[in-house]
Structures are given as structure tokens and as C-alpha cells.
């Protein structure tokens, strides 16, 4: 089965609402990374969070390592937040980076 599962697959919100994205993984990860992919664009790294809670701007990630799950919270969403959010885990060694299928987020004005 898939080593990284993300939910929901898609999420539609009104501007100003908060978004909560989930990532569950089936193997012990040495690293966990959240990426943002703009519509039709490249991936950019948002933040790295192998354990605990990290904040950057309106983003908060909480990873519970022993439960093999991570969440990404986007507060006060904006239309420019629309895109796909991907979770990736690192099992050790660059060839072992495994990506989830992503959550497609749409923020309506």
C-alpha cells in the first residue's frame, strides 16, 4: 500500500477560513517535508517538520512521530493559497524520498 496518504484529496474553502491538511505515513521517517505546488507550477518547500510543532507565517505543522501523522494548518486562508499541498517523507538517502498524492486546496473569494 501507499507509504504516504494525504487527506482530504481536495478541499474548497472561502477566503478567511482555516484549512487543515493531514498526512499519514506507514514507515519511520527521518524527515517530513511539506511542499506547495501552484496550479501548473513547480514545487516549493514550505517547511520541514519531522516532529513537534513548527510555525512559519500563517502555516503551522504538527507532527506526531510515533503516531506517524502530520498536519498542516493554514490560518486565514487567501485565494493565493490555492494549489496542491504535498507531504513527503524521507526514509534516509535521497532515493528514498516518498511523496503523497497531495491535497488540492481551492480558496474562493
Amino acid at each position: 500500500g501507499q507509504q504516504v496518504q494525504q487527506s482530504p484529496a481536495s478541499l474548497v474553502l472561502q477566503e478567511g477560513e482555516n484549512a487543515e491538511l493531514q498526512c499519514n505515513f506507514s514507515s519511520t521517517a527521518t524527515q517530513l517535508q511539506w511542499f506547495y505546488q501552484s496550479p501548473g507550477g513547480s514545487l516549493v518547500s514550505l517547511l520541514s517538520n519531522p516532529s513537534g510543532t513548527k510555525h512559519t507565517g500563517r502555516l503551522t505543522s504538527t507532527t506526531v512521530t510515533k503516531e506517524r501523522r502530520s498536519s498542516l494548518h493554514i490560518s486565514s486562508s487567501q485565494t493565493t493559497d490555492s494549489g496542491t499541498y504535498l507531504c513527503a517523507i524521507d526514509l534516509g538517502g535521497n532515493e528514498k524520498i516518498t511523496f503523497g498524492a497531495g491535497t488540492k486546496l481551492t480558496i474562493k473569494p
Binding site: Q33, N94, E95
Partner: protein
């Protein structure tokens, strides 16, 4: 800052055709990657290269060839395009072998459609 440039941005081919995708990076990174992204699936690694003229197979290498002609460029060849195939091919680079996901830098992708 650096940039990864993928060409072409859109590629339309015929069934059975050999198609080549190109990637250039000016980060001076050692390691380069090719990933395939299908709708509803995560990125899957096709090939990677840790230095010039090196090639390493990923999970999805069958049906593809790759070439690392020089440190800054990494090309991918679809050896025989499959009808109705649609995917985005993403090139990435990282500074060194064994670097983690947080040091991956991606290009904007090549969208392949096979008629």
C-alpha cells in the same frame, strides 16, 4: 538564487514515438532527479544522478532512459510513448547525495500528452 529550467513545458507525442525532455540547473548542485506525477498519485522517482555521467534507476525506470551529459543538465527519454498517457514530469536537484527532502529544488514541469 538559482533556477531549474525544463523544456519543453508542453509535449504532445504520438504512440510509439521516442520523446526527450530536458532539464538545466544553475545551482551547481551535484544530484539531479526525474519524477513522474500522475493525477491522484504521489511523485514517483524515475531516475536520478549523483554526478556527471552517473545514472541510478528509481522505482519507475522501465520505459525510460536518462542522460547526465554535464553537471548542469539531465535529460529524460520516453523510449516508446504509450497512447492516452498523460503525466507531468518534474526535474529536481539537490546539493549533495543523501540530501533530505528539504533541500530539493524543482522545475516547473513538462506536461506530456500522447495521442
Amino acid at each position: 538564487g538559482g533556477i531549474i529550467t525544463q523544456t519543453p513545458k508542453f509535449l504532445i507525442g504520438q504512440e510509439g514515438q521516442k520523446l526527450t525532455l530536458k532539464c538545466q540547473q544553475n545551482f551547481n548542485h551535484d544530484t539531479m532527479y526525474w519524477y513522474r506525477q500522475d493525477s491522484g498519485k504521489g511523485l514517483r522517482l524515475i531516475y536520478y544522478s549523483i554526478t556527471e555521467n552517473d545514472l541510478q534507476k528509481g522505482d519507475l525506470s522501465e520505459g525510460y532512459d536518462a542522460s547526465r551529459e554535464k553537471k548542469s543538465s539531465f535529460s529524460l527519454t520516453v523510449t516508446s510513448a504509450q497512447k492516452n498517457e498523460m503525466a507531468v514530469f518534474l526535474c529536481a536537484s539537490s546539493p549533495w547525495t543523501g540530501a533530505s527532502a528539504e533541500t530539493l529544488y524543482f522545475g516547473s514541469g513538462t506536461r506530456l500528452t500522447v495521442l
